[in-house]
Symmetry: C2
């Protein structure tokens, strides 16, 4: 183990020098590395990068300009191992891997646990995938090919095949002897799985229980029989929710016949929880799965679709205004005030929608409490609506010296905020029932509703009240 | 261990009956429980609830109507233990705990690990806190009081004090004997910490390494010296990022002098990652830290502040429209079209802002790549702007049979989308530099910019072009 040769005080000093208080690489450090790379000083570059943790080396690649990534990779080629690549942003990784020969990718993938190797290989084009797989040892290739046979983002792709499974009739002593005498078992595991004759999991043992139990006791007497099993085709978002709900460290993955086929550990889940929770904010805003490392053209394609959809909904609102052109022509102040009603309503809708989308994503909102959630949002909307309506109503009545105009804008504001609250909860709930991701499509519908209804309520009431008469 | 008495096939059948495919309690099950509670049939209620996992019992309380929570708690009082409470939504928990006597809360807290006990006690009013602490055993009380002395949301509140620390001169055999002979050590741990004479951590051992090493080897030869230490006053969001970045299962917490004072495990971090990542979507939409279990009045207070702030920014936009009343009076079609420019611009700004806020929250965007991120957004904005401008420009030119009007709206749209892209990245970056949470305040500024600039560009250009002449 080479780690043991690093003096800890020294290692800590390096970490403290290169990272800021938020654990991010300092700009000075990144600049220093770039200077060495540009000067072709591979020795200097390597000396700087060597003390970094793989996760920090991955960050370094993300932080340097795109055109410097390949020269940097060339300078520190032997440090660019699987651990670094599996920590790297997928776009940056793709860029680097494109520059590697298939046998180089195969070599890197071989060092990794199956799940990390799969994460790298699944992103390649199909012919590159085949070339890389051909360059691998038959055993490794078989494991990767099996993983690739499961759907994307499923438990089968996340799991690793290296795990410790022991028969239920073994004693703690048998387990200890087995672990000590088998050199090529995996070293990083937190629980061992106990299986029956058909290789079906019947229980799980924390390593700490094994450590604290005398050798003669049977594992069947120490293990926990209640286990959370993960079906191999389960979606990764569900896997993440299950890990979170039951506070799991690792879990057995079973195939359709109930056989133990792999294990998922929490460190792989942590990334998914972060991703899935962060995804909703991007989807709700119409930015798809964008991130700052995505190529400009891909981001453009994802975002422009949304803007064009938004253009359509804006045309609906515009058509509604068009109906009232006669009223506006007589009283231009209406044109000045109408965006206020639409805008604040839009915001109220977005608030409700965000709360609802989160509650659905975290399994907090189910059929059992939907009605209660709707009633709650109506009550909040009424309180919000009355407050904002009072403020804008009085303000307009005074500034325009026109109490009727104040009353109209107040009534329109209250109406629109209540409609916003209703659509903010009903739209995501309805989409979820139809098995459509509420984060992706809710805001188009909610914005269209609050815009259109804002203009309709305000201009309609103004016309009905004969304000512009 | 009572778990071992449950027949696994039976337990699995129950789980499959009560939970839907997303691991949520089925509405039929919730209704069945409510029927028993309403009928005063405690036996029946307990029979239904008994097979549930604590996390599911916690969910059950969240799913039943507010007025049924206390009757349910009374019916299954002995199952309402610390594990259930620590899994429960904080608002629902507060409601239940308010109904308990201090000695009952103290009893529940005593069963828990320090971090979970602290999570329950820190939410109480100060006098309730004191009463609960007085009812606890001196040892437990001291541990809780010490935890409460650390800032809220800091590592000190998250950590547990029960951990395994061994001196560096011990052998693996010494560790095994120590673990087996000390009954009252904690049973759930994943790593042991090796400390020097001053109780400073010098290394960490996975339990799997201990299990696979002969008894005579020194722990100092097995342990990993590179460790990620957590300062006791570190903010929980930073702790979560560190766990994620370095894929930690547990980590040592040290005080300012470097002494080992506690341990944080990944199962506590998983909740925080989910919370922090989900928080941004709520904050960005102005819903604060709302969730569907928060009392209506609290949600109202948080949200109405935001709506009133939004009202102010809408007034700015309205004032800008007011400047052009003369132009609008001459050509009412401008009033019909102007919300399109503002609305689509607002959406483009929100997209950029969401991507930027996420990148900042996940430490992907630092000083080293800020300029690159800004250039990237300008390029995307130009592509988006040109596309949307072409569509709306041609459309308006044809529908209104007015090419000049088409040109004006196209130019205004392009301008506003570029401004939106710029403000969507600059506002969060600037707020972050000023140590203000960009998720909380960005959208007010960005929306104000895109609204005002949308109206200004469109009406200004229309006036300058003499369209309404």
């Amino acid at each position: 183990m080479s780690e043991t040769e690093i003096d800890p005080a020294h290692a800590e000093a390096i970490v403290e020098t290169n990272l800021d208080e938020d654990d991010r690489l300092k700009p000075e450090f990144v600049t220093a590395v770039l200077t060495h790379v540009e000067a072709g000083d591979d020795e200097g570059t390597r000396a700087l990068v060597a003390p970094l943790h793989p996760a920090d080396i991955a960050d370094l690649f993300e932080l340097v300009p795109g055109e410097m990534r390949r020269p940097l990779a060339a300078a520190i080629a032997d440090m660019l191992d699987g651990d670094v690549l599996s920590e790297m942003n997928e776009w940056v990784r793709e860029e680097l891997i494109d520059a590697l020969a298939p046998h180089e990718v195969a070599e890197i993938a071989t060092q990794l646990e199956t799940d990390d190797a799969v994460a790298i290989i699944e992103e390649l084009e199909e012919d590159e995938q085949r070339a890389v797989l051909r360059a691998m040892e038959p055993d490794d290739r078989a494991a990767i090919e099996e993983a690739l046979s499961y759907p994307e983002e499923s438990a089968g792709r996340l799991m690793q095949r290296d795990l410790i499974a022991v028969p239920e009739h073994w004693t703690v002593g048998d387990v200890l002897d087995y672990l000590r005498s088998n050199e090529d078992l995996t070293t990083d595991f937190w629980e061992i799985f106990v299986v029956d004759g058909r290789h079906h999991p019947v229980g799980t043992c924390n390593l700490s229980w094994i450590l604290r139990t005398p050798r003669a006791i049977a594992v069947a007497d120490v293990m926990k029989r209640e286990q959370t099993l993960i079906p191999v085709d389960m979606d990764q978002e569900e896997v993440a929710l299950r890990f979170q709900k039951y506070a799991l460290i690792s879990a057995a993955v079973v195939d359709q016949s109930g056989r133990l086929v792999g294990m998922i550990t929490v460190d792989d889940i942590v990334h998914i929880i972060q991703e899935e929770a962060g995804e909703d904010i991007l989807r709700l805003s119409g930015a798809g799965d964008d991130d700052i490392n995505q190529p400009v053209v891909d981001s453009y394609k994802a975002r422009v679709r949304w803007l064009l959809a938004n253009l359509l909904t804006a045309l609906v609102a515009s058509t509604i205004i068009g109906i009232f052109e006669g009223t506006i022509a007589k009283m231009v102040a209406l044109a000045t005030l109408m965006p206020i009603v639409a805008g604040v309503g839009g915001n109220a809708g977005t608030q409700t929608m965000a709360v609802t989308v989160r509650a659905i994503a975290t399994n907090q909102l189910t059929q059992s409490n939907t009605v209660r959630a709707i009633v709650r949002e109506i009550r909040i909307a009424l309180l919000n609506g009355l407050t904002v309506a009072a403020v804008i109503g009085c303000g307009v009545a005074i500034v325009f010296a026109n109490p009727a105009l104040g009353a109209v804008i107040a009534a329109a504001m209250l109406t629109n905020i209540v409609i916003a609250g209703l659509s903010g909860v009903l739209v995501p709930v309805a989409l979820d029932r139809m098995d459509v991701d509420p984060a992706v499509s809710s805001s188009i519908f909610v914005t269209m509703t609050t815009d259109s209804m804002g203009f309709l309520a305000f201009l309609g009431l103004a016309t009905a009240a004969g304000l512009a008469g």
